[in-house]
């Protein structure tokens, strides 16, 4: 009965046999989606390299990489949120808040009930700052998953809350002088660690590389990663398959907060001060990087590789526009246009893909019609 099949599945493909061809064609598709971002990147670099001699220099590349790294790390957190079909608008403010927390801790903690002021060690400061980022994310996650609130609204609210708290902590003044610490207080070493350049690369680039590897493993090798894609594609079906959708939803915002916290610390070291506007609009850059990297805002589709490439596209573009002397106003127009173009191309590509699948199905059906005009199914 399996010989007179009316199902136009590719003939000759036994159940568990050749997995290679389909796997390869699938990868090809993925490469095309990501390749789009990569092609854009190459074109951008080529154009600016021709226009300016200062573009492809070691110094400039390092500068670009540092800037890209900040966006890329935030974008990795954004990626897991978007894979789930959510959005986190609060990450920029969280960057600012963690920066302010770190700065304040260098001034020392006024311990209540005692006259003492505690000066935490640098690694404690970093842990607390990143912890604050995760706490903000955890709050987002709880509100979204347990109370079924819309991610857009919750994180929009948190955008204001975290920014407000940043301003409260800084009380209108940037923290600049205290950040190097004092040997007597035992809290030195911040800049030595977080503004260093191991092997010539800025520390932020190293963190980006490590985070990219970790997130890649998380997304492809762990059940959490699988659950994330499943929930993003079809939450109801995932839930009925036993996926702990609420827990997944909470954790992704914690991850986003973690990334924002790390960037907060790195940025404070980079600009050697805690400022109230630190991290502003980072959320938008991160979303742009994720989307240019081929992720679907509706969830379920996207990769670490694509996101990193997306961050580089934005970074190389922004830097190039500055170097060739395009006015800041036009820079914004061009950056925005590139983002829209990236999404539009993605959409068109998918439409073409769908049409191709439909055409194939029709052709298959016609062929099946010819082979057996009245399909008699299995006689079990």
């Amino acid at each position: 009965m399996s010989t007179t099949t009316t199902t136009p599945a590719p003939a000759g493909a036994g159940p568990a046999s050749s997995t290679k061809p389909s796997a390869r064609s699938l990868n090809l598709n993925a490469v095309l989606v990501e390749g789009r971002a990569l092609i854009a990147l190459v074109i951008i670099i080529a154009i600016f390299a021709v226009m300016s001699d200062n573009y492809l220099t070691a110094g400039n590349l390092t500068t670009i990489t540092k800037q890209v790294a900040f966006n890329a790390i935030v974008a990795l957190g954004m990626l897991v949120v978007i894979l789930n079909g959510g959005i986190d608008l609060s990450v920029g403010s969280t960057v600012g808040l963690t920066g302010a927390v770190a700065g304040n801790l260098f001034r020392g903690l006024d311990l209540p009930l005692t006259e003492a002021i505690m000066f935490p060690k640098v690694w404690v400061i970093v842990l607390i700052a990143v912890g604050v980022g995760m706490l903000v994310g955890w709050l987002n996650g709880l509100l979204i998953s347990r109370l079924n609130l819309a991610p857009f609204i919750v994180t929009l609210g948190m955008l204001y809350v975290a920014r407000g708290l940043t301003e409260v902590l800084l009380n209108g003044q940037n923290i600049t002088n205290e950040l190097s610490g004092e040997a007597a207080l035992g809290n030195t070493g911040f800049f030595e660690t977080f503004a260093s350049r191991p092997l010539g690369l800025p520390i932020s680039a190293w963190v980006m590389i490590i985070f990219a590897i970790l997130f890649s493993i998380l997304l492809t090798r762990t059940p959490f990663g699988r659950w994330l894609y499943a929930t993003g594609s079809n939450e109801r079906a995932a839930q009925l398959s036993g996926v702990p959708v609420k827990r997944v939803q909470t954790r992704i915002y914690v991850l986003a907060g973690l990334c924002a916290g790390v960037v907060g610390v790195l940025q404070v070291a980079n600009i050697s001060s805690s400022t109230a506007d630190l991290g502003q609009f980072y959320e938008l850059n991160a979303i742009a990087a994720v989307v240019i990297g081929g992720a679907a805002l509706s969830g379920g589709r996207g990769t670490v590789r694509g996101t990193i490439i997306g961050a580089f596209v934005i970074g190389f573009l922004a830097n190039g526009l500055v170097i060739v002397g395009v006015s800041p106003f036009w820079q914004k127009v061009i950056t925005g246009a590139v983002i829209i173009l990236a999404v539009a191309v993605d959409q068109i590509q998918q439409m073409i893909q769908k049409r191709r699948v439909a055409r194939k199905a029709v052709a298959n059906a016609k062929q099946a019609n010819r082979q057996s005009p009245t399909p008699t199914g299995a006689n079990a």
């Binding site: 009965m1 399996s2 099949t5 009316t6 199902t7 136009p8 599945a9 590719p10 493909a13 159940p15 568990a16 046999s17 050749s18 997995t19 290679k20 061809p21 389909s22 796997a23 699938l26 090798r221 762990t222 059940p223 699988r226 659950w227 894609y229 499943a230 993003g232 594609s233 079809n234 109801r236 079906a237 995932a238 839930q239 009925l240 398959s241 036993g242 996926v243 702990p244 379920g300 589709r301 699948v357 199905a361 029709v362 298959n364 059906a365 099946a368 399909p375 008699t376 199914g377 299995a378 006689n379 079990a380």
Partner: protein, 536 residues
């Protein structure tokens, strides 16, 4: 089965002038599923044409094409003898074709007048909406339909039957000449059905053509002028109403469904695997009691079929057992474990799996591959030290693909590339991979072809012979009889009767479910004349 189209051709040649809408050789393909296979269909002026057919026979697909929701893959439509192509529902409405869906398409927060004119507002010369004129027309329509509903009443304050009247009024306001009604009575009380039928007769007297779909066979026969029967994407019979009866309809509907018959399978049951004790489920939004004090034991190795009409509480029972909805009363034991307070994942781990009714909405992760869909519920069994062991996962997937016989290019193929039957095998296979003790399936053969149906049931009987307890829901009587060890009939949230498939008849089951009123009034008469023929 080949006689059907020939009959249709005869009728059309004699009554040609009355045909307002004709579908010529219409076919429709979804992915690899052929929902319609070259159907010729006619709608006549001032007549009610009733469509019969089981779920997935192609009725809804044809209605979607007639109302402009979908475009046909092949064939064309003729309206008043002219070839037309309906690009959208608006297009269809402008040409006088309106559809009233089973799920009403009204805005509950707007009043009756606004709902009737939504999207087609009457304007004054200034460009403002002419509410006065809209109100007057609404008033007239309500009088014509003999329903005293004020135009300013909010739709959410109306009973379902009244909302249906509003839908009809909307169609009439758009000058509908052809009115398609999909399961219009499923939510109506008996008296509301009478009102509806009176409205339908008034409409036909005024020359409106009605296309009517219903699972309630007796009712549908009562209102029919012409009967058309679909089966597996083919139009298999067309007949005038005076020449048909329930037996004819059932025979045409089920046709050659006896392709599989598991009634003679050996029955060796084990202990009680699933014990449902006085379970009551209330719908969270409305508080309506969907499942009312249901008790049922399913044994290891037993296949129990729950038969009932839509809205009988079957799906609600299954989803509550699976852990999606709250059980508001009673208790459920899986073996010796009480399921109270356990979430879906814990129930799966204990050995209770659900294959949901709506494959696309609840069963599949569309963006994932066949393999990843298969391994999702049992993923943790492939995990070591927090990481997925790829080889274990691959082996499990390969084993299951072979086991449930999924026809696919490989585990890496996208799930959406499979046919409906093979997608369903994946949904069943992924639950089997969790090594369940009890497997629940909600309409497991919905929308899949006959061959795949037989394969799915042989799979279930094979697993049952190894000790799996199976509880499945169906709305196909033939399926209930030929593929179960025991039939439970549910109606209005309760278990009303239990049957042995080896001894019961089709009509007995339908009567118990409330599907055929006449049969329940005089069961002997119908049972004798129809069920035997139908089963042959």
């Amino acid at each position: 089965m080949t006689a059907g189209p020939a009959v249709a051709a005869d009728l059309s040649s004699t009554l040609d002038d009355d045909v307002v809408l004709r579908a010529v050789n219409i076919s429709k393909t979804y992915g690899v599923t052929r929902a319609l296979k070259g159907v010729n269909f006619e709608v006549r002026r001032g007549k009610v044409t009733v469509l019969f057919g089981e779920n997935g026979a192609g009725k809804s697909t044809l209605m979607k094409i007639l109302s402009g929701v979908e475009s046909p893959t092949g064939g064309h439509l003729e309206l008043d003898g002219e070839v037309v192509s309906l690009g959208s529902t608006t297009d269809a409405v402008e040409r006088g074709i309106s559809i009233i869906h089973q799920e009403l398409n009204l805005c509950p927060n707007l009043n009756v007048r606004d709902n009737i004119f939504i999207g087609r507002e009457l304007l004054k010369r200034t460009g403002a909406v002419d509410y006065a004129r809209e109100r007057d027309i609404t008033q007239q329509l309500m009088e014509r339909l003999e329903e005293p509903i004020r135009p300013s009443t909010l739709v959410q304050d109306l009973r379902v039957g009244q909302q249906q009247i509003v839908e009809i009024a909307r169609a009439l306001a758009a000058d509908a000449r052809i009115l398609i009604m999909d399961e219009p009575t499923s939510a109506l009380s008996a008296s509301e059905v009478e009102v509806l039928f009176k409205v339908i007769r008034d409409l036909t007297a005024n020359g409106v053509a009605i296309v009517y779909i219903s699972h309630h066979l007796e009712e549908a026969i009562e209102i029919a002028d012409y009967a058309v029967v679909f089966r597996d994407g083919d139009l298999v019979a067309t007949e005038k109403a005076e020449n048909i009866d329930l037996g004819w309809v059932v025979r045409q509907m089920v046709g050659r469904e006896a392709d599989y018959d598991f009634r003679d399978e050996p029955r060796n049951y084990g202990d009680v695997a699933l014990s449902i004790q006085g379970v009551t489920v209330a719908e969270p939004e409305t508080g309506r009691v969907a499942v009312n004090n249901v008790s049922l034991d399913v044994h290891a190795g037993e296949i129990v079929c729950v038969y009932g009409l839509m809205g009988a509480g079957r799906t609600e029972l299954m989803e509550a057992l699976a852990g999606r909805d709250e059980i508001s009363g009673g208790r459920v034991l899986l073996g010796t474990d009480d399921l109270a307070g356990r979430n879906i994942a814990e129930r799966i781990a204990l050995g209770l799996g659900l294959v949901p009714e709506d494959r696309q909405r609840d069963g599949l992760i569309q963006m994932m591959t066949v393999g990843k869909n298969l391994s999702l519920p049992s993923l943790l069994s492939s995990v070591k030290n927090q990481f997925i062991v790829r080889k274990t996962e691959r082996d499990n997937i390969a084993r299951e693909i072979a086991d449930v016989r999924v026809k696919t290019a490989g585990p890496g193929a996208l799930i959406t590339s499979l046919s409906g039957g093979n997608q369903q095998k994946v949904v069943i296979g992924k639950m089997l991979l969790t090594s369940p003790k009890v497997l629940m399936l909600d309409e497991p053969t919905r929308g899949i072809d006959v061959g795949a149906k037989g394969e799915i049931f042989s799979l279930l009987f094979r697993e049952a012979s190894k000790g799996l307890a199976v509880l499945y829901v169906t709305s196909e009587v033939g399926e209930a009889i030929t593929a179960s060890h025991r039939i439970i009939v549910m109606s209005k949230g309760r278990i009303v009767q239990e049957f042995d498939p080896r001894t019961c008849t089709r009509d007995e089951i339908m009567a118990a479910s409330g599907e055929s009123d006449v049969a329940s009034a005089a069961p002997g008469e119908h049972a004798a004349s129809h069920s035997n023929g139908a089963l042959q």
